[in-house]
């Protein structure tokens, strides 16, 4: 590729976790967990090294096999990829620690779900691969790796409910992948290339292009549980083991969002229409309201948190209409664009951290009281101070109250909405925040309420509580590097050509 520095790090980021994953297969269950945990921590370390590398050297690339695109595959680690990889490492690292202790406590007989470790490492590799990939088909392979791992992890408990939810999830995921791949086939048929950069240059508007982009988007929407396709998410996320729920909510669904963002910013300057953007925004808006309302109505803790994920993903969908100007309109300044997409990315990070903490805390509560009815939270403050703090902080971040990370995310989203002139999304954000506050404070209210009948809280390993709290605190601490991260993303100029195309009116500009 043109003059960008190469680095072996992208290859290592994918290869290393897989190497560890296959190594873990050789060990006895107990040792497997240790090796797996060590592997996770090493992977996290590697990811941080990679992040620093990008901050130092800017975008680095790697071409496996040494073949340049379009024939070969390009791995490109730019600021966006680095941020996502860093997020995965941060959240993943904490969850690994939690999982190590949690699984042992849950299932001492078989050594704590030994399959968790190879699957999680594979999942990690898949996520890294997805963030790095610059090739449409390679993206398909990585999302398949992710889907299979995710579903396998989700059914790890082996309970009937989890299996059913898992099958639903898997079928949705396969359908999504196939829809995505159909779009890729059409794009390849039209352009003869799979490389994203190349595609952005040669793609021409037309029925095929528009249809392909829509099918790709549809597939990815199914994968990220966008509104009408959210049906699989709540059962799958709520039936999984706590660390798995955290992984699924915090990281897995974000993979599809990442591709969608990349494609919309880099490739879809031509071909996607204003109406399509509005439609996706509408889906997001409905998801925000519907998901929050559903969360509010739940009586089971994990279902509540899972529905909240549907709503929070809705916010992410709402950035897509803002990326497209109405027909016939051009713009001189891309202020609103950079606010919108960097805000979206920031929202992803803050949601990942907060939601992971939320799920981990829910896992602790369930472990302590033995069931996951919301009532179990009664007098939590009196019994488990650390966990109640974690739930409180994570909840506040989800609502988007200052000074949490969620606040900065919502701030930027709302600003993007107002700057883009599409003010009609603003009430949705407000209503969503209120509903979120509704269910978060419903939980907190119970946590403060005195216990009715004396239900004993079983003691829970301190490690778990501390990890959940650390994550919750992180969801506030990420406010401090917010400026740096956003500048880092903005200055990287990754979407330069895409933004230019949008400013010129995209599809309409070419007519």
């Amino acid at each position: 590729m043109t003059g960008l520095p190469t680095s072996p790090l992208p290859a290592l980021l994918v290869g290393f976790p897989i190497l560890l994953a296959i190594l873990t297969l050789f060990f006895r269950p107990g040792v497997k967990a240790l090796v797996g945990l060590a592997g996770c921590l090493l992977t996290a370390l590697l990811a941080f090294i990679a992040f620093v590398e990008v901050t130092q050297r800017g975008t680095v690339i790697h071409t496996p096999g040494g073949w340049d695109p379009p024939l070969g595959i390009l791995l490109r680690m730019d600021a966006l990829a680095a941020v996502f990889i860093g997020m995965t490492a941060l959240v993943g690292g904490f969850i690994s620690l939690y999982a190590w202790r949690y699984l042992r406590a849950q299932d001492p007989a078989t050594g704590g779900y030994p399959l968790f470790w190879p699957l999680w490492l594979f999942l990690w590799a898949g996520l890294n691969g997805l963030f790095l990939s610059n090739d449409l088909f390679n993206l398909f392979v990585t999302i398949e790796v992710i889907s299979i791992c995710a579903v396998a992890l989700a059914v790890l408990s082996g309970k009937a409910g989890a299996l059913k939810a898992g099958l639903r999830y898997l079928l949705a995921a396969i359908t999504g992948s196939m829809a995505y791949l159909f779009g890729v086939a059409l794009l390849y048929g039209s352009t003869g290339t799979l490389d994203l950069d190349h595609l952005g240059q040669v793609l021409e508007p037309g029925t095929t292009t528009t249809f392909a982009l829509l099918v790709v988007t549809l597939g990815l929407l199914i994968k990220m549980a966008g509104f009408p396709f959210h049906f699989w998410l709540p059962p799958a996320h709520s039936n999984a083991l706590a660390p798995v729920s955290a992984l699924l909510s915090a990281l897995v669904v974000k993979g599809a969002f990442y591709i969608l963002l990349r494609l919309w910013m880099e490739v879809f300057g031509v071909g996607i229409t204003y109406a399509a953007g509005q439609l996706i925004g509408l889906a997001g808006a409905i998801a925000v309201i519907w998901g929050s309302w559903q969360a509010f109505m739940q009586t089971s803790l994990k279902l509540l948190v899972a529905h909240s994920s549907v709503a929070q993903l809705g916010y992410l969908l709402m950035i897509f209409p803002l990326l497209i100007l109405p027909p016939g309109v051009t713009a001189d300044s891309a202020d609103w664009l950079s606010v919108t997409w960097t805000g979206g990315v920031y929202q992803v990070i803050s949601h990942a951290i907060a939601k992971a903490s939320f799920f981990l805390s829910a896992g602790i509560v369930i472990m302590a009281v033995g069931h996951d009815r919301i009532e179990s939270l009664r007098d939590l403050v009196g019994n488990m101070r650390i966990t109640s703090m974690a739930i409180g902080l994570a909840g506040v971040s989800l609502i988007g109250l200052p000074p949490s990370g969620g606040f900065v995310g919502k701030w930027m989203l709302l600003k993007g909405i107002l700057l883009s002139g599409q003010w009609w999304w603003a009430p949705v954000v407000v209503a969503g925040s209120l509903l979120t506050a509704g269910y978060v404070f419903m939980l907190l209210r119970l946590a403060f309420a005195p216990a009715r009948e004396k239900e004993p809280f079983r003691p829970v390993p301190k490690t778990l509580e501390v990890v959940a709290l650390l994550l919750a605190v992180s969801s506030f601490l990420i406010v401090f590097p917010a400026d740096y991260l956003i500048q880092f993303l903005e200055n990287s100029e990754i979407f330069g050509s895409g933004i230019e195309a949008v400013l010129k009116g995209g599809f309409y500009g070419n007519d």
Binding site: V155, L163, F182, A185
Partner: protein, 100 residues
């Protein structure tokens, strides 16, 4: 009509049949098979585009992609099948009961 177009049209039909099948079929096995049919449509699209400007050979890239894709689809389907069978074993259910 070129040869590739016959098959690319077929691919579109298969894709839609498969997609409809995933949503409309009830039995687990049929849903799984529907995903395979959907996938077949996708692969047929790739391969039909490969054929259109064959030199000494048809475009090998889509062929390679399809081989990869088939294997991936089979792996997912095998997993789905395992889930379906286990669910049947545990609950005796062969399709998703209407649940909210």
């Amino acid at each position: 009509m070129e040869t590739y177009q016959i098959y690319s049209i077929t691919s579109g039909v298969l894709f839609v049949i498969g997609m409809g099948g995933v949503f409309l079929s009830k039995h687990f096995i049929k849903k799984i098979i529907a995903t395979i049919i959907m996938g077949s449509g996708v692969f047929l699209a790739f391969v039909s585009f490969a054929e259109r400007d064959a030199l000494s050979f048809a475009d090998p890239v889509p062929q390679a992609l399809v081989i990869t894709g088939i294997v991936v689809a089979v792996a997912s389907a095998a997993f789905a099948l395992a889930l379906a069978r286990r669910i049947y074993q545990l609950t005796g259910e062969e399709s998703f009961t209407i649940e909210k």
